[in-house]
Symmetry: C2
Subunit: 343 residues, 2 copies
């Protein structure tokens, strides 16, 4: 079955990865409407070589779908809050279907008014934010997206977990280039990364977390049962707190502490809200769109031109490679996934 | 003149500090309309023990007013871009008068629509952002504010200065408490802090900057003529880039590189744009304002309750002290300032 001599991997087209994920999700009871954008996001992650958000997420997805409050048939519908604001209640399904159904109103309002927000409520979240950011930039808009998670992270100067890993993602549309996109956790490291180190019996760098007595440690298990730390000290901690507030109480949804309580030990993906903000450079740009684009490109050129990497460059290179050559998936993972799909 | 025995300092009421600054600014040709909010912001900084944004800024202000493009009589008027967006051209005066004149429309639109932006263009900027954030939270709104500066900071992985010190400030309104507010540079340290170390012949910590060959250094002069670094590695660098884009090309204004060119060696305060975003929790909060406030307060309680500091706590304590006891100003600084005011 392997298309590569001497390698224990198989090569699949992006669509085949998406179909495989779709089969696993629907065979396990998720509605096609819910499964379809999730399967596409996993295939996009494999394509961009973001393996941690790829097919291996399927196992965690099944755990999430087992949460007593998870709704396999959630059918979210957007509501207009105002001319600039849209809300969509994900109704305890996955975030992505809600995002995709809210997107047209978000875009239309930002195009009309220069700025617009989409508040997603009650969503289980197991995908990265960059696919959403890219979907917004495809309409010529800039995007800022954030969400809380579970209270795993201690604030700067503290030792008890209160904050989530709270990602912030941003996108800027570019003519003739993929968008400028970043998407990072405000924790020093991803929780999955720490769990991988535990599995592989490896130590973690100082700065990723502390033990339950608040002492720095390189033991991944001590951090998982103690507290993770934010990136960037008190500044990262302040940003993580902002994410709690803007994607939580601002939009009538849970903080990471509340989401952890809601999980009640089920170890599902975090359930929470998400705040999506879109900005329209064409309307806010003072009738000098071309000059503004040139200024942005000069900035990117000055960064990349000195050998510094723009945030999503590695992903975009992997994307080109995958589109040309297909996606390599380890046979062991593929076999495990086929079993989840009922063979 | 000193009210303190044995100390070389005098004690002034907040209003007296403001009047002193006002006198210096107007005697040096700044219009009363421009000077008034700037003098108030300096007095507020002294009151909150943020001395670097207090009276000592007056010397730099006079340098800025000497920039050939600075407009001492700028009379900014807000323009409505849309139901959600306001623009105000500061017309090459200081940022604060433009902010104060744009504020009523920003607030009114956010109250009506849930979100609103104020784009300030062509402003010289020498004040902190927290006074603006506090002014917005006083209306029960959350605020996110940012601006570029001059290209003094290298991107992560690079060695040449491209980015500004690019502050981000955020505020959340609280019932019965001063607002949750942070305001920080996305550079590892403030440029003024590095200059102070140079003046005092002190070394700076590793991580604040690099020399002109891109090597880490603890020599402040080497960093001032080399490049500063962002906080938080590639994440801080990505955030600083976002600030460039959102408060620059998005609103038709300059990046930090362009602002540095515009300065043309005058060493004035940076001239650039500023993006102000306001969010209305009452409209976006799903009719559960009280529960949302409780969730936010539980978050603050969990942070402060474990001995971690909320970002503006030190300022608010200083404020209480200053309001009760007045502001202590060094006699040497006071004498220097009196001289600037013509005695």
């Amino acid at each position: 079955m392997s298309l590569q001599d001497g390698h224990d991997e198989i090569v699949l087209a992006v669509e085949a990865v998406s179909e495989l994920a779709m089969r696993v999700l629907t065979r396990n009871g998720l509605s096609s409407a819910q499964a379809e954008p999730l399967a596409r996001a996993m295939a996009a992650a494999e394509r961009d070589d973001c393996r941690s958000h790829g097919l291996q997420r399927l196992l965690g997805c099944l755990d999430t779908m087992a949460h007593p409050r998870f709704n396999r048939n959630a059918d979210p519908r957007p509501q207009e809050v105002s001319a600039a604001a849209t809300r969509i209640d994900a109704d305890f399904g996955y975030s992505l279907l809600a995002f995709e159904r809210g997107l047209p109103l978000l875009v239309q309002k930002a195009q009309a008014l220069g700025v617009s927000v989409l508040a997603i409520n009650n969503c289980f979240h197991s995908t990265a934010l960059w696919p959403e950011v890219e979907a917004i930039t495809a309409h010529g808009l800039a995007a800022l997206v954030m969400n809380p998670s579970h209270s795993w992270v201690a604030p700067a100067g503290g030792s008890k977990p209160v904050l989530g890993t709270n990602p912030i993602a941003f996108g800027w549309p570019r003519q003739g280039h993929p968008p400028y996109v970043f998407d990072f956790a405000t924790s020093a490291a991803a929780r999955a990364e720490i769990a991988l180190h535990r599995r592989d019996n490896k130590t973690i760098p100082v700065g990723w977390g502390i033990d339950s007595d608040g002492n720095p440690t390189t033991d991944p298990q001590a951090v998982l049962s103690g507290a993770m730390l934010t990136f960037g000290g008190h500044k990262g901690s302040a940003l993580a707190t902002m994410v709690e507030l803007l994607a939580g109480p601002l939009i009538g949804d849970m903080t990471s502490m509340q989401s952890m309580d809601f999980d009640a030990g089920a170890k599902a993906a975090p359930c929470h809200g998400e705040l999506v903000i879109a900005f329209n450079p064409a309307l806010l740009g003072r009738d000098s769109i071309e000059r503004n684009d040139q200024a942005a490109e000069a900035l990117f050129g000055a960064i990349a031109g000195q050998g510094a990497r723009l945030p999503s460059e590695r992903r975009y290179r992997a994307r080109l490679r995958s589109d040309a050559e297909g996606i390599r998936v380890s046979r062991a993972l593929h076999d495990r996934i086929l079993a989840l799909a009922g063979g």
